[in-house]
């Protein structure tokens, strides 16, 4: 059904990050917002994405923001960087979703909801590190990878899952000894993202805790945040609720804290 060759072909097809994007990220890393804005403007799709993103209700701006420099100014360095990473992930997303009932808009909603909530969590944890803030942008890549690998076999997978409670990540792991998060890691490497991002994403799978306690903690928060977000009606209807296995024990000790940060009653 899915073979190592298919996975290799998928990874092979991941485009290198475009030049304008790299320059934008580079400038953002150096904290030079005007230079970053200038680079970003050259990529029309990126500009449009950023505009679309910050004008989503969840960001809560009263009037429309349209200039890239202005957007970067409002978001600040770390959130701008996160937004650019989010854009890079969308480059991988399929033109038409088949396995999950998503579209460009709802996928962007998912990214935005995760980003805003992640920000809240990092604030609560008193973490001020722009690379770690960007880590959340890679998480939705696991959804894209599932879609890409499983969309041709929707019916078979559905039948398999009708007799056995088994998630996409486990199916992939058992078939190819490589899981969704390993593939995400490869994406991160290809795009030269910070090495810690890969580690946090692996920990966020809930099945591969990191050795570093701080990274593991972030993995826990991210795992719980993912399921908090995927429990929203919009994403349940998209079929995302059980695409990976929720590891409830892994997040048990942070649940109360999480509930207070997210104001769950």
């Amino acid at each position: 059904m899915i073979t190592q060759e298919k996975i290799d072909a998928f990874i092979e097809k991941i485009p290198p990050s475009p030049k304008a994007l790299r320059e934008t990220i580079f400038a953002l890393n150096a904290g030079e917002l005007p230079k970053a804005a200038k680079a970003a403007k050259e990529d029309r799709a990126l500009s449009a994405y950023l505009k679309d993103l910050v004008n989503k209700p969840i960001y809560g701006f009263r009037s429309e923001v349209s200039d890239v420099a202005q957007i970067f100014g409002i978001l600040g360095v770390s959130r701008s960087q996160q937004a650019v990473y989010n854009y890079m992930i969308t480059l991988l997303s399929p033109a038409k979703w088949q396995l999950f009932k998503l579209n460009k808009n709802s996928f962007n909603d998912l990214q935005a909801e995760l980003s805003v909530a992640w920000q809240k969590i990092l604030q609560h944890l008193n973490i001020d590190d722009k690379e770690l803030e960007s880590a959340i942008s890679l998480l939705p890549a696991s959804i894209i990878v599932s879609e890409a690998l499983f969309c041709q076999k929707i019916n078979d997978v559905k039948l398999l899952r009708s007799v056995h409670n088994i998630d996409f990540n486990t199916i992939l792991q058992r078939l190819c000894e490589m899981d969704l998060f390993d593939i995400c890691e490869r994406i991160a490497q290809k795009w030269e993202m910070d090495a810690r991002i890969e580690q946090i994403i692996q920990a966020a799978s809930g099945v591969k805790p990191a050795e570093d306690a701080d990274i593991n903690k972030l993995g826990q928060w991210m795992h719980l945040l993912l399921f908090f977000t995927l429990s929203k009606a919009e994403f349940i209807e998209a079929g995302l609720n059980d695409f990976i296995d929720f590891q409830i024990e892994y997040v048990a000790d942070i649940y109360d804290e999480f509930a207070s940060v997210m104001e769950i009653e």
């Binding site: 078979d156 039948l159 398999l160 009708s162 058992r174 719980l224 429990s231 059980d242 409830i248 997040v251």
Partner: protein
């Protein structure tokens, strides 16, 4: 979201946070209808992966329970929770608890009369006296040894003892129990559960089409679990006599277990015995006796008067059957299939060593049966995907094989329904070796397709 069905128990596995919005999205109207049509003996919602729920979140499932119960009279409820969640649910539904609560899925199956894990020593406690009694009665009926702790202290004391009990039950609540003619397979016996008063109604509640097709697929032992039967009238007597004579055509055996004749005329028993029905006091008398079980359940050539031939309707659908089989096995083993030979004749198996087989019947607009003969290697590989590890446990492999054939059957069903042909499928029957398969299949004519997966020969046979 759809329920995962295994051994007649359908389980939903929601994840994350359950509130009014999210759980409403989890269950669409089609999902609810599909659940009602499942024909399961028990429908459960596992809360294992749910970290947060509120009353609205559970209500969506409780409404599903009400609909399923009203339609099918089966056991419904939640399972897989901790004490905190149990108390919360009890608080939410204080006086209106119509569904059951089982601390684990394992506990739930004890009440599902599956006979898979029989004669368990069970320690149980509930602070509600009538609940304690109800649970003990149900467990006893299902062939277990319940030990009831009368107080929390006694329970704490007893539960400390290592290995004294197979299963310990607390934080469990029995809502209304089911009353359906339930079907399940253990080994190669089909068990039907009947209860209360058996009258003319049995003709409606008993799935005769299913029964006939099970006969055709090769099941030869049918056990009626009649522990809970109060009495039987003459209409039911006629029904079972007819059932027995139709079974005789296939050399099949029908047994009654646990039936008492306090309120049923003893002459009925004689009539039924004359018709060939056997009576046993305890389920263990049959299921515990491996020799008897083998003798009664062994596949035997059926002396069927009219030989059934493949007809045109089925032959035109053969590509669908093969596609379904090949696609499923390819998916489960991650290998490519090569079609080697196709012929129409009696089944012919070249190398009989290290092979296991399974058959599944279908009935409805067209009927027949598919036989699959697997090299053990392929069966093992498919098991790895489902259970996550390699195993040599033959029973487990046969069990998983049944699951796999079930998937094939499901796929055939979907492919055919795309063409407007509606069929139902029977439970799969498994054969530990080729000889036991040949006993029922050697005289049947059909279409045989030899396939090759990774240099292993795999055989597909379609017949009626």
């Amino acid at each position: 979201m759809r329920a995962v069905v295994k051994d007649g128990v359908g389980v939903f596995h929601p994840q994350g946070f359950l509130d009014g919005n999210s759980s409403a999205s989890l269950l669409s109207i089609e999902d609810i209808e599909a659940t009602i049509k499942l024909n399961a003996d028990m429908v459960l919602v596992s809360l294992k992966k749910v970290i947060f729920f509120n009353r609205n979140g559970l209500d969506t499932f409780v409404k599903l329970f009400q609909k399923v119960r009203a339609a099918n009279h089966i056991i419904v409820g939640f399972c897989d929770y901790d004490t905190k969640k149990y108390k919360t649910i009890m608080k939410f539904y204080n006086d209106e608890l119509m569904f059951s609560l089982f601390k684990t899925q394992e506990i739930a199956t004890l009440f599902a009369a599956s006979f898979k894990n029989q004669s368990k020593n069970v320690l149980l406690y509930s602070d509600d006296k009538s609940q304690r009694a109800a649970m003990a009665i149900e467990l006893h009926d299902n062939g277990h040894n319940p030990i009831v702790a009368q107080t929390q202290e006694e329970f704490d004391e007893k539960s400390k003892a290592d290995n004294a009990y197979d299963i310990i039950i607390d934080d469990t609540f029995l809502g209304q129990m089911g009353q359906k003619v339930a079907t399940r397979v253990t080994g190669n016996a089909i068990i039907y559960t009947v209860s209360s008063f058996l009258d003319a109604e049995i003709g409606n509640t008993f799935n005769i089409a299913y029964h006939n097709n099970s006969l055709n697929v090769g099941f030869r032992l049918f056990i009626f679990d009649a522990y809970k039967v109060v009495s039987m009238n003459v209409h039911a007597l006629n029904f079972f006599s007819k059932l027995a004579s139709s079974a005789a055509e296939y050399n099949a055996t029908i047994c009654f277990v646990g039936m008492t004749f306090e309120k049923t005329p003893l002459s009925f028993k004689e009539t039924l015995e004359d018709a060939g029905i056997m009576f046993f006091e305890q389920m263990d008398d049959i299921l515990g006796d491996k020799e008897l079980l083998e003798e009664l359940g062994a596949s035997s050539a059926a002396a069927i008067k009219s030989k059934r031939m493949l007809n045109k309707e089925i032959v035109t659908e053969i590509p669908n059957f093969i596609d379904a089989t090949v696609a499923t096995i390819e998916m489960m083993t991650n290998s490519q299939a090569l079609k080697e030979a196709v012929k129409m004749d009696k089944i012919e198996i070249e190398n009989k060593e290290n092979k296991i087989a399974s058959s599944i019947g279908f009935y409805g607009d067209i009927d027949g049966m598919v036989i699959l003969v697997f090299p053990q290697g392929i069966a093992k590989k498919a098991c790895e995907l489902l259970i996550g590890e390699s195993t040599d446990d033959k029973e487990l492999i046969l069990d998983t094989l049944a699951e796999l054939v079930n998937i094939v059957g499901g796929k055939v069903k979907t492919l055919l329904s795309d063409e407007g042909i509606h069929v139902d499928i029977t439970l799969p029957r498994t054969y530990p070796n080729v000889d036991s398969l040949l006993e029922i299949a050697q005289d049947k004519k059909g279409v045989q397709v030899d396939l090759n997966f990774n240099n292993d020969n795999f055989l597909f046979f379609l017949t009626r």
